[in-house]
């Protein structure tokens, strides 16, 4: 994008090229660009690669648990996979996928021409990537075997006398730092780069989720950094923090790490709930029901969710009052989660629902996540948690909630925004097939293991004994995991193929109502030639209506593009094959320009219908 020299006519070609650096290859340009779109794409790509690693680990773990008394993997090897899987799925896949989508999409949604702190955004990605690399560096020697959350004192040097745990600490710290940088950049961008009229109450729900999650990360990130620093000091400098022989307390690490991991869990759920909200509204052909209440509910989920961190510690030696505090916070989560859920259902009901791949994944995400969240509600009752805490039952509920939001919601978001990211749509056929594989797989994997849990199957065990009678349930669960892994790999491959060879999409292939669909697909380096004036939560619908009104008022003349046809209900709303039409810059009247999606959406958007009670 080097501008031509000002005195082009006087210059001779060789003189022009003399001053211009030789062009670098495209991937170097992208890897070194601080542009939020480049950073977001790298985030997403790295998150998907780590997803494949997590799938591999899950596959090996479930193969080990296919039969009782298995000897396929040695216990240490299983524990390495188990430890790596926990961090990979949560901190290297789910959260960075959300962060990447937000880095890419949110500036477009708020009408910004870039992020406010682009270099910080770039730093956030590289910190994350090097954090992940540091974690996996351990596999060259000996990675951490200290469990998913590296609970002290097992992670202390006395019981884990290898440097795998040090690499784990360094890796998690780098990823956490990266997420903090992401959060700062996101909050400053939302604060200072919102387009004209983009008031906080008009933020799309995905941007609201980004704001909530960023604030949440700023609270929980430093807590984890503190815990990791203490653990590092304990391990390497004979520290005292978690060592009971030196008046330290292992419970301190439990509290600090659970604040972080509970917060990360909640952040994942909120992020993808934001994306699901957008997708449900778009494919229902209706505005979001109770937009403001849903936005408020996200904040309430963040506050109550983190405040309930001790829900994971009911069985720890601490006063019962602590447990009551956590239980009240955890049960109170019914209110905000219920609001979000009811608002989705109200948005769906009576809508002209189009079951496309992203919508299918979004509905699947709601369905699967409810299994997990209601299971968590079950376990927020203190005696229930005493009964099943630490077993495959409680692990299954967590997995349900995280898979529902991060895998189903994440794939919904990727299928939804892939046309914006790459200008191409992913294949529908494989998308749907992979959805059903994932949907069958997730239930077949988790339901039997939940049943096995309260019958004696602890979580994270490297084998189970034949005399416990859990063989059938574990075999079913392993079978489900296989189906699930195939579905996930197929879907990621489908997305990758769509990104390079998919059907060309227009700027607005879905007939959506938020501002990112006003930009070209993929967006121009500066996002928008013209940033429209935002007057509500659905700017693109208002722009379409304004264009339609203008065209109706005008006498019948030749208009650019096909005239909006009214009433042909059979016509599909989106034609992904239409070439992208760049937005027409009209300086005087911001609402007037023909948006890229307006001419092709068939004119029967729900907005011009009279309200039906």
């Amino acid at each position: 994008m080097t501008p031509p020299p000002a005195s082009a006519e006087a210059a001779r070609p060789e003189l022009i090229s003399a001053g211009i650096p030789a062009p670098r290859s495209a991937w170097i340009v992208r890897a070194t660009s601080p542009d939020h779109k480049a950073v977001g794409s790298m985030f997403i790509a790295a998150a998907l690669i780590f997803a494949l690693l997590a799938v591999t680990e899950l596959f090996f773990m479930r193969v080990q648990l296919l039969v009782p008394d298995a000897t396929l993997l040695r216990p240490e090897i299983f524990d390495r996979f188990m430890t790596a899987f926990g961090v990979t799925s949560v901190l290297l896949f789910a959260l960075p996928l959300a962060a990447g989508l937000m880095t890419y999409i949110v500036p477009l949604q708020i009408g910004a021409r870039g992020s406010a702190l682009p270099r910080l955004g770039q730093l956030s990605f590289w910190l994350y990537l090097f954090g992940g690399a540091t974690l996996y560096l351990g596999f060259l020697w000996r990675p951490s075997e200290a469990g998913v959350t590296a609970l002290a004192p097992l992670s202390d040097d006395l019981y884990s006398a290898n440097h795998g745990v040090d690499l784990w600490i360094a890796g998690v710290a780098l990823v956490t730092l990266g997420l903090i940088c992401f959060a700062v950049n996101m909050l400053v961008t939302l604060r200072t780069r919102s387009g004209p009229g983009m008031a906080p109450s008009r933020l799309p729900l995905f941007a609201v989720a980004a704001k909530t999650v960023s604030r949440l990360l700023l609270v929980i990130g430093p807590v984890m950094l503190a815990a990791l620093t203490m653990l590092m000091i304990d391990r390497n400098f004979d520290g005292i923090f978690f060592n009971p022989d030196e008046q330290g307390s292992p419970l301190l690490y439990s509290h600090l790490s659970w604040i972080f991991f509970t917060g990360a869990y909640i952040a994942i759920v909120i992020s993808f709930f934001g994306a699901i909200s957008e997708i449900v509204a778009t494919f229902s052909g209706k505005p979001q029901f109770a937009h403001r209440a849903t936005a408020t509910a996200f904040s309430a989920i963040a506050v109550l969710g983190v405040a309930a961190w001790m829900q994971n510690m009911y069985s720890a030696p601490m006063p019962i009052g602590f447990s009551y505090f956590a239980m009240v916070c955890a049960i109170a989560l019914i209110v905000p989660f219920g609001i979000v859920l009811v608002n989705w259902l109200k948005t769906l009901s009576g809508g002209s629902i189009r079951i496309t791949t992203p919508m299918l994944f979004a509905l699947g995400a709601i369905s699967v996540a409810t299994f997990g969240l209601l299971g968590e509600l079950n376990q927020s009752i203190i005696p229930v948690s005493w009964l099943v805490g630490g077993t495959a039952t409680s692990a299954g509920d967590t997995a349900y909630a995280l898979i529902g939001s991060a895998v189903f919601g994440g794939l919904a978001a990727l299928y939804y925004w892939l046309p914006k990211l790459t200008g191409r749509t992913a294949g529908e056929g494989i998308g749907r097939a992979s959805f059903w594989a994932l949907f069958v797989g997730v239930h077949l994997m988790i339901l039997p293991s939940e049943l096995a849990g309260f019958d004696g199957m602890p979580a994270n065990v490297y084998k189970f004994f034949g005399d416990t009678g859990l063989s059938g349930l574990n075999a079913l669960s392993s079978l489900g995991a296989l189906v699930f892994c195939i579905g996930l790999v197929a879907s990621i491959a489908n997305l990758a193929r769509g990104a390079v060879a998919g059907v060309t999409a227009g700027p607005d292939p879905w007939g959506a109502n938020t501002l990112e669909w006003f930009a070209a697909s993929p967006p121009l380096p500066h996002n928008f030639d013209l940033v429209p004036d935002v007057r509500g939560t659905e700017p693109l619908r208002e722009i379409r209506d304004a264009v339609r009104r203008a065209e109706a008022a005008r006498p019948a003349t030749v208009t650019a593009g096909p005239a909006p046809s009214t009433g042909s209900a059979a016509e599909p709303v989106a034609k992904p094959t239409d070439p992208p039409a760049p937005p027409q810059p009209v300086e005087s009247a911001p609402v007037e320009p023909a948006p890229p999606g307006a001419s092709e959406d068939g004119g029967e958007r729900a907005g011009d219908q009279p309200p039906v009670a």
Binding site: G350, P458, K463, Q609
Partner: protein
């Protein structure tokens, strides 16, 4: 999407396949439920659908809470999924979406309903917690002196120490209908003593003392495991609580004490012999 456009004009809906998808959705859920039912139908596996039968009052409370909550949450899952399926099945044609907007009373009402439900659940949770912590009531129901036992976790077994100083590994032997007060701690990393038939799991944290109690009302063997990851051999860290008749308990206790004493004296003798032999050799 492009490939299916040819089939669309015959239907008013955007996407004809969607109806089939909904049916598949229903079919899959029914299929899954059948599968779960089949697992449960086998006589040997029927018990697998429920937690182990509780044999202590606090375990009964925990089980009741679990079953009540499972019923409620299961119902909620069914209602939510049914609502999604109904909304998809009864969808409007493209462009004819109903414009439902939240009335200004809708959200406050929703908050009131959900908040009321949450308040009821909190009350339920507190009542059940207090019930399952009611040691005094459970101890008063049986006329036996409580026995205090120290359960000590270590990589990767449980050591039980009885009031008279006798100890046992792996298996905890207790008399029936007697209040057992467990003090749980750990000598190395964190563990969790978990026996579902006797009230669930409690953490063993080094440097802290945790407490649990139970009053087993049935003779039998109750399996348990450690459910806090504790290192390589974590999966083998199982425990069995053997509930026996009081007389049998006393007999076992004295037998165990004798065995320990015999083993101890054998060790002592060997040490003394070795010392004597060493002295002989040095002379």
């Amino acid at each position: 999407m492009r490939r299916r456009e040819g089939a669309l004009p015959r239907r008013r809906d955007y996407n004809g396949r969607a109806l089939r998808s909904t049916r598949t959705h229903l079919g899959l859920i029914v299929g899954l439920l059948t599968l779960v039912g089949l697992i449960g139908a086998g006589p040997a596996e029927a018990a697998r659908l429920f937690p182990a039968d509780p044999v202590s009052p606090n375990a009964t409370d925990a089980n009741t809470s679990f079953l009540v909550m499972s019923l409620l949450t299961g119902l909620a899952v069914v209602v939510i999924n049914a609502a999604i399926i109904i909304a998809v099945r009864k969808r409007a044609a493209v462009g004819e979406a109903a414009q439902t907007r939240a009335g200004h009373r809708f959200v406050p009402r929703l908050v009131a309903i959900l908040g009321g439900g949450a308040a009821l659940l909190i009350v339920f949770g507190i009542v059940m917690t207090e019930k399952s912590r009611d040691y005094e009531g459970a101890a008063a129901a049986v006329d036996a002196e409580p026995i205090e036992i120290l359960a000590s976790g270590q990589q990767w077994l449980w050591r039980y120490e009885y009031p008279d100083g006798t100890f046992s590994y792996h298996d905890l032997i207790v008399p029936v209908n007697t209040p057992i007060k467990l003090e749980i701690n750990s000598v190395d990393v964190r563990h969790r003593w978990w026996v579902p038939a006797l009230g669930g799991g409690f953490d063993a944290v080094p440097g802290h003392r945790n407490n649990h109690w139970f009053v087993a009302d049935q003779v039998g063997n109750y399996e348990g495991a450690s459910t806090e990851y504790s290192g390589p051999a974590f999966a083998t860290m199982r425990t069995t609580v053997k509930v026996v008749e009081p007389a049998e308990y006393e007999a076992w206790l004295s037998r165990q004490a004798d065995e320990i004493a015999a083993a101890q004296s054998a060790v002592n003798d060997k040490v003394l012999r070795d010392q004597a032999a060493a002295e002989e050799a040095s002379k």
